[in-house]
Every structure is written in C-alpha cells, then in structure tokens.
C-alpha cells in the first residue's frame, strides 16, 4: 500500500511539471495586435516595412521568431537604431514579447521588413502578415497600406 501514495505523487508531479516550464502555447486571444500599418512606397521600391503594437496578455514570455506576408517574397524582422550619428538597420532573429508586455514595431525601432514586393503597394490595400512566436503560437494580422505621415518621424 505504500507504493500507491508514492505513485500518486509521481503521477501528480509528472502531470504538472511540463506545463510549469512556461512552454505552453499562448491562446490566440491573449495576443492582441493594434495599429498595424504598412507604408506606401514609390512604385519602383522593392521593399517596405510593417509597423504594429503587439500585446501579450498571457503569463508566458515569448518572442516573434519569424514572419511571413502575402505581399513579399521574404519577410524578416529588423531593428533600426541611431548610433554613431547614423541610422542603422540590421536583421534580427527575434523580437522579445514578454509576459504581460508589449512589443512596439514603429519607425526608428523594430519593424517587419517586407522584401521583394510581389505587387505595388497602394494606399487602401490590405497586407496579410503572419507572426510566428517562440511558444509555437501564430497570429495573422491584416495591415492597411497608408502614406508615411508627413508630420511624424
């Protein structure tokens, strides 16, 4: 009879332990994307960007680890920064999205880089962007094409 309670403990631990490594998938409704937009670029342009604000309402730390879009052959995550008197840009492997936190993709900072556009972007178009997160969840966003704000940075 002594083995039964020990077995019970073992079962309980085995059942609960994996879920406690923070590696559960975030339910889709816990990731909220706001203010997504894609700048209209000159017709000769072969690349554009996508900006958005991503909120993680879950308790699981995650990150954007890849991105796809219907308008570009290749989509990547990029980071801009001002350094040494220059605006710098580089491809990054991930953009952190902490538990109960926000990832802001905005001009001068992180953005999705849309490379080798398959069609011209015009104001009013919709661009579908699929974000893939480290925890395994995904989120598809529809971003409208807008002109660069003449008054903003």
């Amino acid at each position: 009879m002594r083995t039964l309670p020990a077995l019970l403990c073992a079962v309980l631990i085995v059942v609960f332990a994996p879920a406690c490594q923070g590696q559960g998938k975030i339910p889709p409704d816990q990731i909220v994307v706001q203010d997504a937009w894609v700048p209209e670029v000159p017709p000769v342009g072969t690349a554009s960007a996508a900006f958005m604000k991503i909120e993680n309402h879950s308790s699981i730390n995650t990150a954007i680890v890849s991105v796809e879009s219907d308008v570009a052959r290749v989509s990547e995550l990029h980071e801009m920064a001002e350094a040494d008197g220059m605006m710098t840009m580089r491809k990054v492997q991930r953009i952190a999205l902490p538990a109960h936190g926000v990832a802001s993709l905005e001009p001068g900072g992180y953005h999705v880089m849309l490379i080798d556009l398959k069609r011209k972007l015009k104001v009013g178009d919709q661009v579908r962007i699929k974000l893939v997160f480290q925890d395994g969840s995904e989120k598809t966003v529809v971003a409208p094409v807008r002109k660069y704000d003449e008054g903003a940075q």
Partner: protein, 223 residues
C-alpha cells in the same frame, strides 16, 4: 495506514499546487531584452499649430560645390542652383523607414511654404548606395514625392568625397538579409543658401514646420 496514505496524498497535492503556482511565471528563458518595446524614445518635435521655433541660421565649415550625376544621367553641379535654396540629404532607395519618412516630411514642408516658392527650393537626394541606385531608379523613386527633387548618384569614389565634405557618413553592412547589403547612413538634412553655403543642419526628428521656417528665412518676401 490510512493516515500515511492521507499524508502522502496531501503532500502530493500540496506539491502539485506549489508547482502549479510556479506555472505562468517567467520561465527559465526569461528574456533580457528589456520591456520588449525596444523602439528608441520618441523625441517630441517643437512643432505647434502656430509653427515651430525658428532655427538660427549659421555659418558652417562643411559643404561646398561638387559634381555628381543627376536622375537624367547628366552631370550636375551644386553651383548650378545658384540663386535657389537647397535641402540636401544622403540616403538610398531601399531604405524602408528613414528616407521615405524624411521625404514625407519634406513634402509637408513644401506645402507649408506654398506653391509660389516651389521652384525656389530644390531637394537634393544623394544616394550612398552606388551599387544599386542608378539615375533611372532615382528618377522613378523621387517622382513619388512632391519635393522638386534632384536625385544624384555616382560611383563610390565619386560619392565618398561629397559625403566627407558635408560631414556625413554611411557604411555598407551585411546582416544576412535577403534584401542584400543594407546601408547605415547619417540622417542630417543640410539647408544650403543661394550662394551654396550650408546655413543649418536639421536632425532626423525635426518637424516639417521647423524645416519650412528655416527655408523661409532665406527666401525673398513674396505674397
């Protein structure tokens, strides 16, 4: 025996509850990338509906005449613009953020100045991407922005002295992007007067109102 069973069960449940409590907190992969909002702090421009602060024009040690190739494939000298005001910027056409944003701000600055001054103010966009930006591409790119633009390009050995003259800089980088090499570049916008002299250097975040106010100081009074 029953008591022992109960003891083990309760311990097991308490242990399970404790583990469950730990769930949902930052796991061992806690990110150290800060809050995740990694965009640089937004600088508030000085703009107000009445107009921004007026930039104090100065004399600078940088600048001067140069020759590059314009968007029609013809040689272009800065001194050709004698009598006009120029706004000079170094960038490249693949740039998805800084360059189109600056050109959008310049579009607004032209609107603030008014159509009667459009021909008196020339935007000079110099490409620092000598590998990819050729005259025809410069022409098509700049046609999109209503900024009375001249698009200049050249070989690296033609571009580099001009960049140095103006105290600007750029670097070709490779971060493994499918877009190919990327070009980091300074984002200063140089206000050049009718004698070809730099009189003010606008920063990346300076609003259109400040740019228009700077240009206006150089323009003759005209209704």
């Amino acid at each position: 025996m029953i008591r022992k069973f109960t003891l083990f069960s309760v311990s097991g449940l308490v242990l399970a509850a404790a583990l469950a409590q730990g769930c949902g907190k930052a796991g061992p992969e806690a990110q150290d990338q800060g809050s995740g909002s990694a965009a640089p702090a937004v600088a508030e421009g000085a703009a107000s509906p009445q107009g921004a602060a007026v930039p104090a024009l100065q004399k600078y040690d940088i600048g001067g005449n140069f020759i590059l190739t314009d968007q029609n494939g013809h040689p272009f000298q800065l001194s050709q613009l004698h009598g006009k005001v120029a706004l000079l910027y170094f960038g490249y056409t693949l740039c998805p953020d800084a360059c189109p944003a600056t050109l959008a701000r310049l579009t607004r600055a032209y609107k603030l100045l008014g159509p009667q001054f459009r021909d008196d103010v020339v935007t000079i966009f110099v490409s620092v991407d000598s590998g990819r930006d050729k005259p025809q591409k410069m022409k098509e790119y700049l046609e999109y922005f209503d900024v009375n633009a001249v698009g200049l390009s050249g070989t690296k050995s033609q571009i580099d002295p001009v960049v140095a003259q103006y105290g600007a800089k750029y670097e070709i980088t490779d971060s493994g992007s499918a877009a190919g090499y990327l070009v980091n570049h300074s984002t200063s916008l140089y206000l050049i007067d009718q004698h070809g002299e730099v009189r003010y250097v606008f920063k990346h975040k300076d609003p259109p109102e400040l740019i228009a106010a700077g240009v206006k100081q150089l323009l003759p009074a005209r209704s």
